[in-house]
């Protein structure tokens, strides 16, 4: 049996708005094997960041289970949860706003060590901070600088060092490179990759950039308006995308070759509102293949169409002979 470090079951997060319930994360299920990377992709506002935060209970889930090594973290008390954070960490998207401007690099990295009593004694902590800085490629001379004195790449390295300080098993990378220059993106991605190999980390990699996630992930889950519409091993997903939304997304990746143009699937139509969405396929309004009868009959279910390849498209499921 696979060693699943994390299992997410029927996870939901609804926000109350003046117009009704906003279904930010709506009944999400997935598992991650230890040491692997799950890419979570989707357009802005599809709920991918919310999913990451709900898993860590930085936002409280509306319902569902998050089993970390078999333990349901949604049921933990606040104190137990703080303890649990040692194992589950997050790297945020914006390395500018996510670091306290009043703390030096060493204070930022040392805080989790001190707060969670991972190490005690000033010297031990300082040695560990220097060690972490070296691990993430931050020169020792930056130890007493403030975040605003550093560039985006170095700031993100602080964010990574700070996450590593607690020796986590799982790290949720919430668009860790989207705020950085392309050249620096590659550095940070390589660093994350190296760390994974060295420390045996498990990643959930949240991004809207499919070309980033392709090189990085073992499995990819595509989200649309709070739901997973397709999930498959990375290679399989790129070679045989089945869901019309995934196909459209993949066709939007530019190919870095002269004269080579891929036929672009252009989406039209209005995006379904996530506030009190109707019980139908949420992509139906923009889908080129939409069949009113089938697609608007009920909320699509995620069905395994080939080993480890799941889709939630009733039309395709029916074409392939699955019962829906």
């Amino acid at each position: 049996m696979a060693d699943n470090i994390l299992e997410v079951k029927n996870l939901k997060k609804y926000f109350k708005t003046s117009r009704g319930m906003l279904h930010a994360v709506d009944d999400i299920n997935f598992t991650i094997e230890r040491g692997k990377t799950l890419g979570l992709v989707g357009e802005s506002g599809c709920g991918k960041s919310t999913t990451g935060r709900v898993i860590l209970r930085l936002i409280e889930p509306t319902s569902g289970e998050v089993l970390f090594e078999g333990k349901d973290v949604t049921k933990l008390s606040k104190r137990e949860m703080r303890h649990m954070r040692k194992d589950m960490q997050i790297i945020f998207q914006d390395p500018f706003s996510s670091l306290d401007p009043k703390k030096t690099v060493s204070q930022i990295i040392a805080e989790p060590i001190r707060e969670n009593r991972i190490l005690t004694g000033k010297e031990n902590i300082e040695r560990r901070v220097l060690e972490l800085m070296e691990t993430v490629g931050l020169a020792e001379r930056y130890i007493n600088t403030y975040p605003h004195e550093l560039d985006g790449g170095r700031r993100q390295r602080i964010g990574i060092a700070r996450a590593l300080a607690m020796e986590p098993k799982l790290i949720i990378c919430d668009e860790p490179v989207s705020a950085l220059d392309v050249s620096i993106q590659a550095q940070i991605l390589n660093l994350l990759k190296e760390l994974q190999e060295k420390l045996g980390l498990t990643y959930i990699f949240i991004t809207h950039d499919l070309s980033v996630v392709n090189h990085f992930s073992d499995d990819i889950a595509v989200m649309y308006l709070g739901q997973i519409v397709e999930k498959a091993p990375a290679e399989e997903l790129f070679e045989h995308p089945v869901h019309p939304y995934t196909q459209a997304l993949l066709s939007a990746i530019p190919i870095p070759e002269l004269g080579h143009r891929r036929e672009r699937v252009k989406l039209k139509g209005e995006i379904t509102s996530p506030v009190e969405p109707p019980a139908e396929c949420r992509f139906a309004k923009r889908c080129l293949e939409c069949n009113e009868k089938i697609c608007k009959a009920s909320v699509p279910k995620l069905i395994e169409i080939s080993p480890n390849h799941f889709i939630a498209c009733p039309l395709k499921q029916q074409e392939m002979g699955f019962k829906i």
């Binding site: 945020f92 996510s98 401007p101 009043k102 403030y146 607690m166």
Partner: protein, 309 residues
């Protein structure tokens, strides 16, 4: 940093000269000829001229201004028309009383308002927040001389807990300090709340929570420290208001401070005393504002970086 402080100190000089000129000019426009007042109705023309010379009232406004500044630089603010005492001496005699009143009022205001503002912000839109905001609104809208009178009616006349006036013993400072401090406390509560609300939404607080920092430390170490700048600003700006407010409170409570000195001097048309007290108070306020600017640098490393540039 030192260069910055020195630069700011040098910049104080033109500011003070300008302020002194404005005060001096206004006082000169406002008065009738004080010589008549001092000399009495029966004085002869020669006596008046002699007195004018003696009181330093001869020459044009500009001449008199420069004479005044020259004396000021030597620490001489002139002589009171009424008591015939040195104005600097009068001022220094009263200043400790006012500073005592103002500092107690300010300290009490901070002790009450900052925690209240934090609680209100952390529990935004709850009943705690509502109560804090209603209190703050009351405190802001109540004129403090009226509050002072109400306090006297209740605590001095009805209950007899505190004296209604004077500056004898520790208890006598309570009512005036409350009167002066309430407005400041109300303003600081609102400032603390809004500044905290702003910071509580910042991404780095989420980072701190993700690090496993306890909620108390998140609020006190990460949020409050970052929310302090507007609070310090208001605190500094309000110092002049507290001095202004203490003029009223000192009158209501017969508190022998600078405020009373000025009010009495205005009543008696004692021009040198009014001018001197105002110039000195202006200096005090300006210096306090400078101190506030320097404190910023210690609270926020980003501002410090700008200063040292």
């Amino acid at each position: 940093m030192h260069r910055y402080i020195i630069k700011r100190l040098i910049m104080l000089i033109p500011v003070l000269l300008g302020v002194a000129f404005i005060i001096f000019a206004i006082m000169n426009v406002a008065e009738g000829d004080p010589v008549y007042q001092v000399a009495g109705p029966d004085a002869t023309e020669e006596q008046l001229d002699a007195l004018r010379e003696e009181m330093g009232l001869n020459g044009s406004l500009i001449q008199r201004y420069f004479r005044y500044i020259g004396n000021l630089l030597r620490g001489d603010l002139g002589t009171s028309y009424i008591s015939r005492m040195d104005v600097m001496q009068l001022y220094l005699l009263r200043l400790p009383n006012t500073l005592r009143l103002a500092s107690i009022a300010m300290v009490v205001a901070v002790i009450i308002s900052v925690p209240l503002g934090i609680v209100a912000a952390v529990n935004q839109n709850s009943w705690k927040d509502t109560i804090a905001m209603v209190l703050a609104l009351l405190g802001l809208s109540m004129p403090n001389f009226w509050l002072g009178l109400l306090l006297i009616i209740l605590f001095s006349l009805k209950l007899g807990w505190f004296p209604s006036g004077g500056a004898e013993g520790v208890v006598s400072v309570v009512l005036p300090a409350v009167t002066v401090g309430v407005g400041l406390a109300a303003l600081l509560t609102r400032t603390t709340r809004s500044s905290m609300l702003d910071v509580l939404r910042q991404d780095y607080l989420r980072t701190a929570r993700a690090k496993g920092v306890s909620e108390n430390n998140v609020v006190m170490h990460h949020a409050l420290r970052n929310a302090l700048i507007p609070i310090i600003t208001i605190f500094g700006v309000q110092f002049s208001n507290v001095l202004g407010g203490s003029v009223l409170a000192e009158t209501v409570f017969a508190w022998p401070g600078v405020g009373r000195l000025v009010v009495d001097a205005i009543d008696q048309r004692d021009i040198p005393t009014v001018t001197g007290a105002l110039v000195m108070t202006t200096m005090l306020v300006t210096v306090v504002n400078l101190l506030v600017d320097i404190v910023y640098a210690y609270v926020d490393p980003r501002i410090k970086a700008q200063y040292t540039k």
